[in-house]
Amino acid sequence: MKIPGNLSPFSWENRNGYNMQFNKADLEAVFGDESSGETPEERARTSLRIFVRSQAQVAFDNESAKGRRLSSIEALNAFGWGIISNLAYRTATPIICLEGEPGNTIKKRRESLGLSIENLAKAAELSPEILQHLENSTTRVPIRKIENVARLLALDETHLSIHSGANGDHGLGVRLREMIGPTSQDATHFSPSMVLGLSEAAWVIKKQTELQNTAVSYRKLGYVPDHNYDYPAWRSGMRLAAQTREKLGFAIGDPIRGLKDLVEKQLGVPVIQAELNPRFAGATIANGNARGIVLNLRGFNENVWVRRNTLAHELCHLLYDPGQRLAKLLVDEFETIETDPFNLSKVRDVVEIRANAFAAEFLAPQEAVKDVFMGYASHGEGLAAVMEMYGISFSSAKWQVANALRISPSNIDASGVNISPSAEWAAGENFTADYFPIEAAPICRRGRFAYELVKAVDNGLITSDTAAASLGCDGNEFLAKKQMIRSIFE
């Protein structure tokens, strides 16, 4: 098959408009006799053939190959027909787009995130020498190791070698760089491990979004950015909370149980669990077109009620803050989140004031909180009832009650209140961090992402090798534990 000179080998999908005829013999040679259809995509979707790639080339799967195994549709999406059509005539075909790839991409990304060779090598469990060789393209490195590095840097590992830059989000890189190190102008002062934790989470967000593909999208459901931060911003937060509860079908007094599930299933927003510096509560990240929430499991978030509050806070950012406010990455500290949303002297940023008010009102509307609280003789019992009813933290319950009653929080006698969530609440917000069938899986990949991988394997979209590599285990372990992962999420 001859490719028109003005079309790149990757743009085969755009050639549909050219009414291009594909050579049947080539399609059969590449995708196998059992495949059917007139186009590479139709063939790939019906093909059982497995491909294998390295740093430099792609070939048909074979017994001696140790590289990454890809389904036909994965291979087609990654390399394009222009490249894999060569396999009709060759045993292997090159995939490197430019001399020095993928090393140049890895090096540029590492530098753009402000990470040293040592920082990245340690996280990727490589020696600094090997990483340096990889970056300088002076030696061959197994593709599985290179992919591991790419995932940590929020690069698309399927694009390594083929596209310079590997589809990394430049804006996200810049934002992370701005926040790193003691010279940062930003008060958060990220450490290298914090940057790596957030960039890996950004990778999971993007992959989970791609796997969900045509599933629900909060934008399609009508959740659009709201530009109203007018004084007092908490009023806008309360309005948005009421609006969101109504859209989701919650009556005024209904508690919201299983918040993480709701956010992921009903709104299609990836919620990624992470173990970060205990100072940080959560973050909202945009990686390309994908947006998601990162929740720190450490610090105050160890209490599931606080964690719910953090999640609701980040949800407000994600659903309603315009893109320029998020600036690709917005990280919240507990100091900001665990604050009375209506005390404007404590938090000065209107974006945070609005998100704090949203979180409190979304989880426990003041009108309903007031009724529950007033049903008890003592403040302590009333507060405990509010916390248990709505699954909110002690401080959040106190502020909601005080603001509902128009009294100062200091006037509420909260002595003796048990601030530990019940087992039922803890189970309802299960984050699969404590128990996950694949021990080697990093915390941030143990959520719904794992379930989406299982579904994609069962639907023939990706190989079990792709899923296993994404979870940090081998293919056999993934296959042995696939059903267990499924049962956690179904």
Partner: protein
């Protein structure tokens, strides 16, 4: 087998005959032969050379490092009686159904011991690859032995190496050439 010392490198050189003895001739993979043109024997005068014979008209090339520009690729075969090679894009091949020559055009479809690609970097230096669907080396050792046989013809030789990830010889060079 000849053992020679060149500078610091210790090189075990294998002649083509020794290679043939170690790796018997085999038929080209029939499943890869797409049309009868691929079995036509390319006439010598149309641009087939024998490795080791003096030839001044060889097209030199840069080292192939990416898929966009793989340079001037020559195909080689360790055939039963000689080691023919020719430019893949040779004029004669344009008249064939595939538009380029295949390794079988160097043998007429006969059995051969090994095959691959090569690039003349200068008059004395060649880089070899083992990419040939029809006669390609079946493992890294076979590729290394083939390369050693080329080195016995007084050329400075490097090879692309064998890609463990794909289980196939490399089709582009990653890193610097490792000259034998």
């Amino acid at each position: 087998m000849i053992s020679s010392v060149s500078g610091m490198a210790h090189l075990i050189v294998m002649t083509f005959d020794e290679f043939r003895e170690k790796y018997p001739a085999r038929s080209p993979k029939q499943c890869l032969i797409k049309n009868d043109d691929e079995l036509q024997l390319m006439p010598k005068e149309k641009g087939v050379h024998s490795f080791g014979e003096h030839a001044s008209d060889m097209l030199q090339s840069h080292i192939p490092r990416d898929f966009n520009d793989r340079g001037n690729i020559h195909l080689w075969v360790i055939a039963q009686n000689d080691v023919p090679f020719a430019l893949e894009q040779v004029e004669w091949g344009k008249g064939l159904e595939s538009g380029v020559i295949k390794h079988t055009n160097l043998t007429g479809g006969s059995d051969a011991h090994c095959g691959g690609e090569l690039w003349f970097i200068d008059q004395e230096s060649v880089i070899l690859g083992g990419s040939s669907g029809r006669y390609g080396p079946q493992n890294e050792q076979e590729l290394k032995d083939a390369v050693n046989s080329f080195a016995a013809c007084n050329y400075k030789v490097a090879h692309m190496g064998f890609d463990e990830d794909t289980g196939q010889p490399f089709t582009v060079l990653v890193g610097e050439p490792q000259w034998l």
